[in-house]
């Protein structure tokens, strides 16, 4: 089965002509994809592109060690194809998704059921994996939870307090984010991308903007890339701090929990200082950034950042110094490095299992090409490791922002050709609304039949956007893969053999997005 590399290589944040993407008949395509994954690849996206009444499969694979991506596609398929999951379990959710969206049956898939919808009904309706036995009981949690969080259904198979199996049913917040972009981009697309997962606004907005820029054959000005990189780390700081506090809260450790809630707000306010919105909405636009950071505000940001960092260090110290907390975190919810690689974990979940996986480092695009960030890895794979990786990243992110603020690049924050199209008022926005090929006088149009890929390391992990244009340069297919899509399976694995009372801290240690998954 050892084959030479046949997928088309490309870099993060670039595009290739659709015609250049190598094509195989479906069964050979599955073999070729498996071969690429055997060679150290990792599945970033696997989706269908409708063509007439059939569907083509597309695979985007990341070779982290070689800092390159690769794409391949299948010939149109109508009914079924041999399942890739049997050889590479990381494909299991992708194949279920393709089955749900396009009706393509992955033959031999061990657990084929819908990902988001149950035949148009309630996601939790349907069959769950069951453990039989007199001592076994089933616990159903959700979709309505006791806190103000998003909806999702969790089905536990328990033997007393021990969880034998957990199955998660999501899809309650399916809004059709991908479908809405088909035929686009529409005028609302940018705002919709900012809310694919509201806590990853910068991550998804950067990926979407990068897609449009690479399709236009350009990139954002350096200063805009610099601003995006800073905003991305501010988002990471706020969320990681909030997560440390939430973890402390779930084991009833008051000091850190009380402090982190407040400090998270301080970090959010830094993003607000940057662009006027605590979640960074309205900052990133195709072609650059809508706001600039003048020297004065940069100095203000730096001062406030240092204060907040000192506070979060203190709060984290209480957490690490408390024996009772460590007793709860250590050896709880362990995912081994082998398991993590097999199911394709990304982001904090992967790094806490000892995998060196970070888009900023492995597939640098934008400002990260000039300002690399070291990868924060902690072995162990337990709740403690995931908390620890967050703390390490808080340190690195703060350091990164300090360094970047000291050496800002000069120049515009908006690529001129895009600038006019986004700020030029109704006439131009109408041209976007109608999805014309050329957004601005012909120089920066979207080419027809082009495939663009953008990866961004959001605070949770890899955010992957893939766009394919049609003959008119409109979106023919737009695929979004949030880190949560990869990592929910990690939570399911982490719970095996755990006490059911430890579920909340395991869940918080991953802190995955429901809406980012549901799209």
């Amino acid at each position: 089965m050892n084959t030479t590399r046949e997928f088309l290589p490309l870099s993060n944040g670039t595009s290739v002509p659709w015609a250049d993407v190598p094509e195989w008949p479906a069964d050979e395509f599955v073999v070729a994809t498996a071969a690429e994954l055997d060679h150290g690849g990792r599945l970033c996206a696997w989706f269908g592109v409708p063509e007439n009444s059939a569907t083509r499969l597309v695979a985007v694979i990341a070779f982290d060690a070689e800092n390159t991506l690769a794409v391949g596609r299948s010939a149109p398929v109508t009914k079924s194809y041999p399942s890739l999951t049997l050889r590479h379990p990381q494909a299991h959710l992708f194949e279920r998704e393709v089955w749900e969206q396009h009706g393509l049956m992955p033959e031999g898939h061990p657990w084929l059921k819908p990902v988001r919808r149950q035949n148009g009904g309630h996601p939790a309706v349907g069959e769950f994996f069951r453990v039989e036995g007199g001592e076994i009981h089933e616990v159903a949690v959700g979709p309505v939870h006791a806190g103000i969080i998003e909806p999702g259904h969790f089905r536990f198979q328990c033997n007393g307090e021990e969880v034998l199996h957990l199955e998660i049913a999501l899809g309650y917040q399916h809004r059709g984010a991908e479908e809405a972009l088909t035929g686009g981009p529409q005028r609302a697309a940018m705002s919709q991308m900012e809310t694919v997962a509201g806590d990853t606004t910068i991550g998804h907005a950067t990926a979407y903007a990068t897609i449009l820029e690479s399709l236009a054959g350009t990139e954002a000005p350096l200063r805009a890339q610099w601003l995006r990189a800073i905003a991305l780390e501010l988002e990471r700081l706020a969320n990681h701090t909030g997560d440390l506090g939430a973890l402390a809260n779930d084991v009833a450790f008051l000091p850190t929990s009380a402090a982190c809630g407040k400090i998270r707000g301080d970090f959010l306010n830094l993003t607000a200082l940057l662009c006027g919105n605590r979640f960074g909405r309205g900052l990133i636009r195709p072609g650059g950034c809508k706001h600039d950071l003048e020297t004065e505000r940069a100095a203000q940001l730096l001062d406030k950042l240092r204060v907040a960092l000192a506070e979060v260090n203190q709060a984290a110290e209480w957490l690490w110094d408390s024996n009772s907390v460590r007793a709860r975190f250590e050896f709880t919810g362990t995912v081994s490095a082998g398991q993590a690689a097999e199911i394709g974990l990304v982001g904090v979940g992967a790094r806490a299992s000892g995998l060196v996986r970070d888009v900023r480092f492995d597939h640098p695009a934008g400002w990260h090409r000039f300002a690399p960030i070291p990868v924060a890895v902690w072995p162990g794979g337990d709740v403690f490791a995931r908390a620890r990786v967050r703390w390490l990243e808080i340190q690195r992110s703060a350091k990164f922002i300090e360094e970047q603020l000291a050496a800002p690049p000069d120049g515009e924050t908006m690529e001129q050709s895009f600038n006019s199209s986004w700020q030029g008022g109704a006439s131009v926005s109408a041209s976007w609304g109608e999805g014309e090929i050329l957004s601005n006088g012909g120089s920066r149009g979207r080419p027809p039949h082009q495939l663009a890929v953008a990866l961004v390391e959001g605070w949770r992990g890899e955010v992957c956007h893939v766009a394919l244009t049609d003959s008119a340069g409109k979106f023919r297919r737009y695929k979004i893969v949030d880190a949560s899509f990869h990592n929910w399976s990690g939570l399911e694995l982490a719970m095996r053999g755990q006490a059911i009372s430890d579920f909340p801290i395991c869940n918080k240690s991953f802190n995955l997005s429901y809406c980012g998954f549901d799209l």
Partner: protein, 302 residues
């Protein structure tokens, strides 16, 4: 007539003061966390609100769902009346009332557990399983503690047992009883009274389906139980029976206040235990009481 008046007065004091304790604990926690926190009287407001509310009943439940909290509440009140207050003694006192005291508390737990199982919910079943398994260990500790006091005073009546101090083993007994207090009243590190996570709850998950006045009875009963344990701890350690009435009441109030503050501090500074470690801590509490018993038994010998 005077007896009736006496019982009525004590009853009023117990019932009215009990909801104050959780308020003090929450205030301490808020203070440590740098928050303003809810008012000390919050539980009174909550109880008044619940009392005015209607009851939402599942179609699956039997009358036991309502009857359980009511019987538990009465049992806890009866247990409170058995406790003496310094030199004033108890309203009801007879030989062997210490045993009745333990069984009344156990009966209250039984009623709440039955009312919870009545809903047929997986959560509540889980909570009941946890509550009763930990209760086995906690009860062993409290019976040993009472046995210590019996040996010490040579009596099986609470009024006589709690009059003198526990003597040489007082510190051991206090440590053991404090552990039992935390476990029996679902405080950190055994349980987290503030959590919203149904999968980690013990006591709270058993009352998830209760609403309105029955929930008020459960909440009030829980605060009363906390007060009972705080008073029991105080009286076991201090020789309140030997003081004048005013001194005894002053010392009692002061020490119960201290106990509340210590509970607040423990909750502020400690994470809760994983469930598999709870038996270890309860066994430790039991051992403390057991050593206090040994001290009382052998230490008193000439």
């Amino acid at each position: 007539m005077t007896i009736a008046l006496d019982i009525f007065l004590r009853l009023a004091v117990w019932l009215l003061l009990a909801p104050l304790l959780p308020g003090i604990i929450n205030k301490v926690k808020a203070w440590v966390a740098g928050r303003r926190g809810p008012p000390v009287l919050q539980l009174y407001f909550d109880l008044a609100k619940l009392w005015r509310k209607g009851v939402v009943l599942s179609t699956a439940v039997s009358p036991m769902h309502i009857l359980g909290p009511a019987m538990a509440w009465v049992a806890i009140i009866a247990a409170a009346l058995l406790l003496p207050v310094g030199p004033a003694g108890a309203s009801l006192s007879f030989r062997g009332d210490a045993l009745l005291f333990v069984y009344l508390l156990a009966f209250a737990r039984f009623c709440i557990a039955l009312a919870a199982l009545d809903t047929g919910s997986a959560f509540e079943g889980m909570g009941v399983a946890r509550e009763v398994s930990y209760a086995v260990l906690a009860e062993a500790a409290i019976i040993t503690a009472l046995l210590t006091l019996c040996v010490q005073s040579g009596s099986v009546s609470l009024a006589t047992m709690l009059a003198p101090s526990a003597g040489a083993g007082a510190a051991l007994l206090a440590a053991g009883l404090f552990g039992v207090l935390l476990a029996e009243n679902c405080r950190v590190p055994f349980d987290d009274p503030n959590t919203h996570l149904e999968l980690t709850m013990i006591h709270e998950v058993m009352v998830l389906d209760h609403s309105g006045p029955p929930l008020a009875a459960i909440l009030h009963g829980a605060s009363l139980k906390l007060l009972i344990f705080a008073v029991l701890l105080t009286e076991a350690v201090l020789p309140l029976g030997k003081l004048s009435l005013l001194q005894a009441i002053g010392a009692l109030v002061a020490l119960v206040f201290v106990v509340a503050i210590v509970i607040g501090l423990v909750e502020s500074l400690l994470a809760r235990l994983a469930f598999r470690r709870v038996p270890l801590l309860l066994t430790t509490a039991f051992l403390f009481c057991l050593f206090a018993l040994l001290v009382a038994w052998k230490g008193g010998m000439p």
